[in-house]
Assembly symmetry: C3
Homo-oligomer: 157 residues x 3
């Protein structure tokens, strides 16, 4: 039992994997936070997508079945997060297992997490461009850089 | 060769990792099932998004290039699944590697899988609120709880 | 230090895991490429979703805040990628750890990657149906086949 537990926690005892686990969890939690922002805007703007979600019943309530510019903005922000956090999580996991230098790995993870936090702020504030565009590009470039390391280490076609 | 295979199957021989693999596969398969529901509703409601998908050719067929309330409902259900299953898969993997108690891990995985299956039923039936809202919240809380364990075990900033 | 690195690179030194890492990275990079296609079409079609993205200021620029058929097509392609690449990444990782034969695993990964590349070409060209439908179905079936192996090896409810 103890030996088995030791084997299981082998990965998580490695500093590079710990760094990956920390930053991957942070960006996934940040993405989850956007769900709460959507709920907040749907409630405060009274703009719902499903009839069963309406705060009141009757014909009069149907006016709340509508799209709202702020709600749609949060939804685009959430979808952009999915489109970028999924590749980071996947490629980042393989990168963490491909034997990078700890300092290099930390640099990748920190820049990605910072860029995505900035991206969310820039999308929701909203900040003037190119703040959102640049923060997207930085996260994208970090993921490409990790993918290059994975393919260099593990290429098996 | 045999020694290498043994190393490879080390993770999958661990009960906690087996439980994670089982429930992660179940919720991913459940999410994939929603794709089939979308195809079914697009066919039966004759509501398509792409001209090349229309069941017949000619001007008359263009009326099928439309949105349908049932199709849009399934698509929202699918997107909500992505937004919640991705964090569960990612944080759950790191959680399974962070050395939790087997019984605690099983509790997290079972509650999450149950909540997401209920969420899909509540979305597609649809059931009256707060059934969908609560099932979403339960899955969300389980993921936060696992994230807390990961960060407590592996925090490396 | 060296012993620790050796443990860390144990997974990535395994041929099955290398094959998984290679094809998972390829399909994630392919999915990321669709982001660039979206940006290209938004720029060339001058169809933007956010006021701060408009190429010029003033009342006259508001006409560019619109949806465009080509942009929407790329966005559907991207979402379909997410819906299918996420299950492949997740189930494929568990499958690679479930001790499959190398040749069987390679067959799964190669067919999936080929099918998804074809799917993107069929969606964006667009090619006449059933090319897109079939390429979707092939990727779907490969993922189900891997899920079956995972559950057969690791089922722990």
């Amino acid at each position: 039992r103890t030996a088995e537990m030791a084997k299981l926690t082998q990965l998580i005892d490695n500093e590079i994997f710990q760094a990956y686990a920390t930053y991957a969890t942070i960006v996934l939690l940040k993405m989850m936070l956007v769900s709460c922002v959507t709920v907040y805007f749907r409630m405060s703007r009274k703009a719902f997508a499903n009839p069963e979600d309406l705060p009141e019943r009757g014909e009069n309530a149907k006016k709340y079945l509508r799209t709202d510019a702020d709600v749609e903005r949060v939804r685009r922000c959430h979808l952009n997060d999915l489109e970028n956090v999924v590749p980071f999580f996947g490629i980042g996991l393989l990168y963490a297992l491909s034997g990078p230098e700890l300092s290099t790995a930390l640099l990748h993870f920190r820049i990605f997490a910072g860029a995505r936090i900035l991206h969310t702020i820039a999308y929701l504030a909203p900040l003037p461009q190119p703040s959102r565009g640049l923060s997207w590009l930085v996260g994208y470039a970090v993921t490409i850089s990790m993918a290059y390391k994975v393919l260099k280490t593990a290429l098996y076609l």
